[in-house]
């Protein structure tokens, strides 16, 4: 059964639509991650679910009940803010008890619940400190603890880790994953900018763009089978290379010529009417293979090299569009301006039509 359901939900700020026609079903126990470019409305959507932002059209159901006009506290949700939002004048203990006190839970019970939560978050030694005497990571854990004690049906996280440094971010990410494992019943919705967080934590990822949902799917689904060019380039880092191409032959195998004259034979069925259309093909940086033969798909002079040790990234500037990026495992010795040729396994190629829709996975 769906735990949370958005039905044609939309949000207008005055006359400006920010989100339109959002349809999404989230099942109990899922960890859903919202990703999307900055300003696409991730936080807004989360806040609409939390009840901090009015839903201006459509509806939100939690456990089958319409929630549009239910105040935040009655929705069975808890929210962890990017900025922690701890009550600065209250100790960690009081921060965590705040909601329970308001809900008039008995004193002993509050004490047990809070101490249990503190224990599981390793906050016990800090219970009587004020937030200002805590490190960033500890503060974030208090914020999470404050959510846990309320035992909500749905946890909402808005970029909870973005204020932490890299190492702490990894540690806290793992803590959140473990927390989720301990509470298989609760649903979590998580907004992030971080690809790795999204790929590792999510049961399903929701890609938002342009006022709406581009695609919903498991992390690998989105990676392997993007429905459109936006998702293809948004998921994965570095982004997928997009090469403009013209359809020269249709049928079970589509032939396209690239700007540089190379011909790509993609095993995707296309109808005759697409002949001569301006398509584009996509190849992930790690799928680009060095070749010496003349049957290359891409040829270029290295304009920039990033050696990261485990991988080496080669950048090839183009007249227009983003540079083509190639990812080579391990340490590779190339020089600037060196001419290199690459092929791609045709089965791994993506093909997008003139409207940027994937020909492969979209029906």
């Amino acid at each position: 059964m769906a735990n949370l359901k958005l039905i044609n939900a939309g949000k207008m700020y005055g006359n400006v639509p920010v989100l339109t026609d959002i349809n999404l079903e989230i099942k109990k126990g899922e960890l859903i991650v919202f990703v999307g470019p900055s300003g696409c409305g991730k936080s807004t959507l989360l806040r609409m679910i939390a009840g901090l932002e009015k839903i201006t059209s459509g509806g939100l159901e939690i456990d089958g009940e319409l929630m549009n006009d239910v105040p935040p506290a009655k929705r069975g949700i808890a929210m962890v803010f990017q900025s922690y939002a701890l009550y600065p004048h209250l100790t960690v203990r009081d921060n965590m008890s705040f909601a329970l006190k308001i809900a008039k839970v008995a004193k002993d019970e509050i004490k047990t619940i809070v101490e249990e939560a503190a224990e599981s978050l390793q906050l016990t030694p800090y219970l009587d400190r004020l937030p200002k005497a805590l490190s960033g990571g500890q503060r974030q854990r208090v914020a999470i603890g404050r959510a846990i004690v309320r035992n909500p049906k749905i946890y909402l996280f808005d970029e909870p880790l973005s204020n932490l440094d890299a190492a702490l971010r990894v540690a806290t990410r793992i803590e959140i994953a473990q927390l989720k494992e301990k509470m298989p019943e609760s649903t979590m919705i998580y907004v992030t900018h971080d690809q790795v967080e999204a790929m590792t934590l999510a049961t399903r990822i929701v890609v938002l763009n342009n006022r709406g949902i581009e695609q919903v799917g498991t992390p690998l689904e989105l990676y392997e089978k993007p429905l459109n060019k936006f998702v293809a380039t948004f998921i994965g880092s570095p982004a997928m290379n997009i090469l403009p191409a013209k359809v020269v032959a249709t049928g079970a195998v589509t032939s396209l010529t690239l700007a540089n004259g190379a011909v790509a034979e993609v095993p995707i069925n296309t109808a005759d009417q697409y002949l001569d259309n301006d398509f584009s093909i996509g190849a992930r940086p790690e799928d680009m293979l060095l070749t010496q033969s003349d049957e290359y798909l891409f040829k270029g002079n290295v304009s920039y090299i990033e050696a990261l040790g485990e991988i080496t990234l080669l950048y090839f500037n183009r007249e227009e569009g983003a540079p083509v990026i190639v990812k080579i495992p391990g340490i590779a010795h190339f020089e600037r301006d060196q001419e290199l040729k690459f092929t791609v396994d045709p089965k791994k190629l993506q093909m997008f039509d003139a409207l940027d829709i994937s020909c492969k996975y979209h029906d």
Binding site: A50, P71, Y84, A85, Y87, P88, F98, I102, L130, R146
Partner: protein, 378 residues
Amino acid sequence: MDSIVGKSSALTWAVNISVVLLVLLWTIPTFGLLVSSVRDKDQLVSSGWWTSFSKVERNLIKRSAPASEQSKVDDLYVLTGNVFGDKKGVVTAFGWRSQDPMAFIPGDSVPLRKGKMLQINADGSYLLTSPIPFTSKRGSRLFVTSIEEPIFTLNNYSEVLFAEGLGKSFLNTMTVTIPATIIPILIAAFAAYALAWMEFPGRAIFLAMVVGLLVVPLQMSLIPLLKLYTDVGIGKSYLGIWLAHTGFGLPLAIYLLRNYIAGLPREIIESARVDGANEFMIFVKIILPLTFPALASFAIFQFLWVWNDLLIATVFLGNNEEQLVMTGRLRELLGSRGGNWEILTASAFVSIFVPLMVFFSLQKYLVRGLLSGSVKGG
């Protein structure tokens, strides 16, 4: 590089020195007032407060005993006594003519007119002899220069507080000031929260009106308000002046507090909302404690303003013993006891004592950084 470092430290010195100078400049008069107010009133009129810690040299004009007390020893008529009376003192010089009051040193025996002789000793005892009987009923003038120990006393205070009626006025001022500080703060805090964080139609216009009220000169509203009070039946009463001060203080209070409250991080309030707090709980449990520095600042301003106010008190309170506030009393004292510095300095100090206490007790809340730890980077 060096020169930059050198420059900045010279600058630091300049800043420090000017701060010290400014502080001295501002505190010395107050200190002088305090010292003057505890000095003996005779000493106060004869020398400045900065000399009050050392022994004072005073030129005194005394009179010898009258002729009726003369006795005859051998051929001479004699008058004896002490220029200090029962008190103690040290004579450093004496004389018998006003043109030259410090002509002789103690112990000398000096001739006066008509064969009279005068001797004054360091302890103040004098011996006046004459071959013919003394006739002056008032005694003759003796000029002595004496050294006196500084005298500090609280008599001035007891006099102004109990005899001059300042004590009662002090209580009256308190009666005006405390409610006139608390009431506007309470109202303004609620209003400021609403104007900052609650959505309601006309909020912006309301705020604009409040800001607009800041420019209305309060003198303009005194008479209409008093008329209104008389019509409603409040008349000249404490209730009236509380309301008046509340009204005059509110625009600034609302404006200041709203700006402060609007600057609190939105997430904290939303977080409380998600935690189930209603607006009132958010206000009481989150906003009020976090707004304490602003409340304290405004409390200090309002308190000082009401405490030192004379105009509004003159208009809205009567001139009787039950309603005369301290500023009013001081004004009366200035008129009636303008020459008595000991009264004026003590009164002045009584009137600045409470504001000083209020400031020192609240200033620790004026520190910044109450929000630290709440949100990122804090």
